[in-house]
Structure formats: C-alpha cells, structure tokens
C-alpha cells in the first residue's frame, strides 16, 4: 500500500448554534442582550490522516459527530476551525436517491442522479445497461418513480452510486437499509471496491458490519477520537 495521504484533517472543530435566531424577538435578544448560548461543539480538535487505498470505518453512538466528519470530508460542511485537505474526486453517499424526482421515470432519474453524483451524460450512457441490470427494475424503467416501492428506489439509487468511479468513496450508514439479500449485495460491492484499492470512509454504529469491510476503525465519542 502506498503511503500517499489523500485525506487529512488537522485539529478540526465544528461548532453549531442550536436554535439559530429565527423569530424577530430572538434576533432582538441576539443583538441587544448578546445571547449567544446554546453553542454545541459537534467536533473537538479531530485529526485524522487516511492513506490512498485505505478502507476506514468510523464508529460511534448516535450524535457523536461521525456524520459531521463525513460531511466535512465530502466538502458539504465547512469546519469552524482546523485544516482539511482532500485530494481526488469524492463521491458521498450520505443518503441514497438524493434529488430523485417521483414524477420522472426510472430512466430519467438515472441520468439526473448520475449528474448529481458528478457523472457526464456519456459516462452514464456507457454504464446504463449495467446500472439497470444491477438494480433489477428493468421492467419498470420507463415508469414514473412514484409507482416504485421504496426498496426498488433504493436499489436503483445504489446501482447508480456504485458506478460513479470516484477516487474516494464516503458512505453513511444510511446504506444499511433494505432486505438481507440487498445488504449482502452491498457488502459484496464494498468488498470488490476494497480489492480494487479504492479509498473508502464508512460511517456506522454497527461495529460488526464495519469490521467485515474496514481493516482500520476509528472510534468517535462526544466529538473526539477515542482510542
């Protein structure tokens, strides 16, 4: 394994204001009484380095800050303090089917979702057959998504997602939905990615599931790394 660092978080902290001032009276309080309490540090001085080709699992209880780490790596959330460096194209699967529109057909949604995940129409066209085969919804590919079952939607989204060819794949536990058979299929895909030496960061609170995929685990608790 090469020792090229592709993800580097240095003393990263993230502050959230619980209950941003929304109503006029709250804004009044905020400005004139300087009430800025309700501050919550979701992450405190986190430093993580991940090498190219590594598969890293991030475990921790609900609300420990693991999803925030993912969002920072994916570039969706900016940290309050600290330095973040990510080299390469990141694909973030924080939720399957983000941007799906229920009035569009399966085929149309494949192109839309592909574009959202950063693929060009040509790339999608080339992989279209593969995506449809994997999803198992070929029969309904020209049916509007609103007539799909939730399982079919997830399968369609997942099939697009695994075909995006990123440098770094960032996955949230949201993927662990669906029936047992589908979960097995997911595991198989991640196993293949690992063999292909794709850099992966996976978040879950299911330790046993993560152990199957990731050789390296990072435990997060209350916004800090626990050894």
């Amino acid at each position: 394994m090469s020792n090229e660092i592709v993800i580097s978080l240095e003393k990263v902290s993230k502050k959230y204001h619980l209950g941003e001032p929304r109503k006029f009276t709250e804004i009044f309080d905020y400005i004139f009484h300087n009430r800025r309490d309700n501050i919550f540090w979701a992450l405190k001085d986190i430093s993580i380095k991940i090498n190219k080709g590594e598969a890293v699992g991030i475990v921790g209880p609900n609300g420990s800050g693991k999803s925030t780490i993912l969002k920072i790596i994916a570039g969706i959330v900016t940290p309050t303090k600290g330095k973040v460096e990510v080299i390469g194209k990141v694909a973030a699967l924080l939720e399957l089917g983000t941007g799906f529109h229920t009035d569009l057909t399966g085929r149309e949604n494949i192109f839309l979702y592909g574009a959202i995940m950063g693929m060009s129409p040509d790339q999608i066209r080339k992989k279209f057959e593969k995506i449809v085969d994997f999803s198992g919804v070929r029969e309904f590919i020209d049916t509007p998504l609103k007539h799909y079952s939730s399982g079919m939607r997830v399968r369609l989204a997942f099939s697009v997602a695994i075909n995006i060819d990123p440098d770094i794949l960032v996955v949230d536990e949201a993927l662990a939905v669906g029936d047992v058979e589908f979960q097995q299929k997911c595991l198989q895909v991640f196993e293949n990615f690992r063999k292909k030496k794709l850099t992966m960061v996976i978040v879950s609170h299911d330790l046993s599931l993560l152990k199957k995929i990731c050789p390296r685990l990072i435990l997060i608790e209350n916004g800090g790394i626990k050894n």
Binding site: I76, A92, M119
Partner: protein
C-alpha cells in the same frame, strides 16, 4: 463551475419536465395566461381609461411589456424557493449552490421563448413587417437574464434565513409591476414621477424591447445603460452576498 455543467443542465431539464408533466395543458399556459392579461389590460386602460399612447396602439405596448415582465416575475417566484426546496441536495451533495439559482432562471426560458414567439406572431398582424435589430435585442435580453439571476441570488439565500419574505414577495411583485411601465408606456408617466420610473432596471429593458419590436427604433441609450448598470450592479452584489452566506447553508437550512 465548468465541471458542474451537466448538473446544471439536468436540473433545468428536471424543472421543465416536471412542470409540464404536472400541468395537463402544459406549454399552452405560456400563451393563454399572457393573452388573458393583455386582453384585460387593453380593455381597462385602452378601452375604459383611454390611456394616451402616442403613435402606437395600446395592445402591442402591453403585449411586449407582459412578455418580458412575466418572465422576470416567474424567475423571482422560482428563485425565491430554489434553495429551500432543494434542502436534500444542499445537505447531502457537494456542488456550487449558485447552480440552483441559475437553473431556476434557466427553467423559465422555454416559457419565455414560447410567449415571445407567440407575441411576434401577433405583432405580424398588427403592424407592417420588419426585421428587428438583433444586436439591441440580444443586449436587452442578456440584461434581463442578468437581472433575473442577480435578484434570484439575493432572494434565494435571504429566504433561507428569513422565511418571512415568502409572504412579502407576491405583494412586492404586484407593486413593482405597477411602478414599472409594463401596462403603460414610459411616455405616459408624468414628469415629476419620471425619475422613479427611470431608475428602475426593468424600465430600460421593456422600453428598449418596444423600440426594437414595435417601432423599429434603436433604444434610448441612457435608459438602456441605466438598466445594464443596475442589473450588473445587482448581479455583482448578489454574487458577493450569496458567496458569503453559501458556505453555512448546509448548517442552517
């Protein structure tokens, strides 16, 4: 930005496709609604109040006025909710959020084209045929697009912080409609209100379009430059304002 061109393309496409899938009469509304508006105002101002419009008839003036005004007002409505209706994309996907605003404006262009072609067709029956000055048309059209994006950048992101503006904007659009020479020509504005009408970025666009499409005259230079300056100014301000608030969007929305 360039690497997200396909996303922009698909968002515009989604917007248009969904809008027409949900409406039974689809694109026909882009013809029917302005036709109703123009007929009603022709009846009120042309028929009842007998507004003086100089050499030209009232009908073409209000027709050209509504063609472009409707586009702007639709852009305002769309961009206002461009961010708040795409919460899932903002919190789950990394991309420049400005794309959502541009796609909201882009999604309205097909309607504008349909309304515009229909207006041109009507004008053929109302006046002698001539080829409009394409140079001025392009300048005015670009100004309109820049203005729509500029306003959209400001409104979309403000709406995330203060949802109150959703309630204010419809009233604002109506007030602005009557303050702008949409249903009347600039020439009918009394001298003491002239300044108010002239510092409005839409005035130059509408008056210029009337010159280009109805009277075949070049637009008033000062009026056009005012429009361009105000539109570009709003766009630059909007861009800076949007960029400043953009990076915390995923936390707030």
């Amino acid at each position: 930005m360039w690497q997200y061109r396909y996303l922009l393309m698909y968002l515009i496409w989604r917007d248009i496709k969904v809008r027409y899938k949900q409406a039974f009469f689809g694109v026909a509304w882009a013809i029917v609604s302005p036709l109703i508006q123009v007929t009603v105002f022709t009846f009120i101002f042309g028929g009842i109040f007998r507004l003086s419009t100089g050499q030209t008839n009232y009908f073409p003036i209000v027709l050209v006025g509504f063609t472009f005004w409707n586009f702007l007002s639709q852009c305002i409505t769309s961009t206002l909710v461009a961010l708040v209706t795409n919460t899932d994309l903002i919190t789950k996907v990394k991309f420049p959020k400005i794309i959502l605003v541009i796609s909201a404006v882009g999604g309205r262009i097909p309607d504008l084209i349909v309304t515009f072609v229909f207006s041109l067709f009507l004008l053929l029956f109302l006046q002698p045929f001539f080829i409009p000055n394409l140079f001025w048309f392009a300048i005015l059209f670009m100004t309109l697009i820049l203005l729509a994006v500029g306003i959209g950048l400001i409104l979309s992101v403000t709406n995330v912080y203060f949802r109150d503006i959703t309630a204010v904007i419809p009233v604002f659009i109506t007030v602005w409609l009557f303050l702008t020479p949409v249903v009347y020509p600039l020439s009918s504005v009394p001298a003491n209100y002239m300044i108010l009408a002239r510092v409005n970025p839409v005035t130059g666009i509408l008056e210029g379009m009337r010159n280009v499409l109805i009277t075949n005259q070049p637009p008033d230079l000062l009026l056009t430059l005012t429009s361009i300056a105000l539109s570009v100014g709003l766009l630059i301000f909007g861009f800076l304002y949007f960029s400043k608030l953009e990076k915390n969007l995923a936390d707030i929305i």
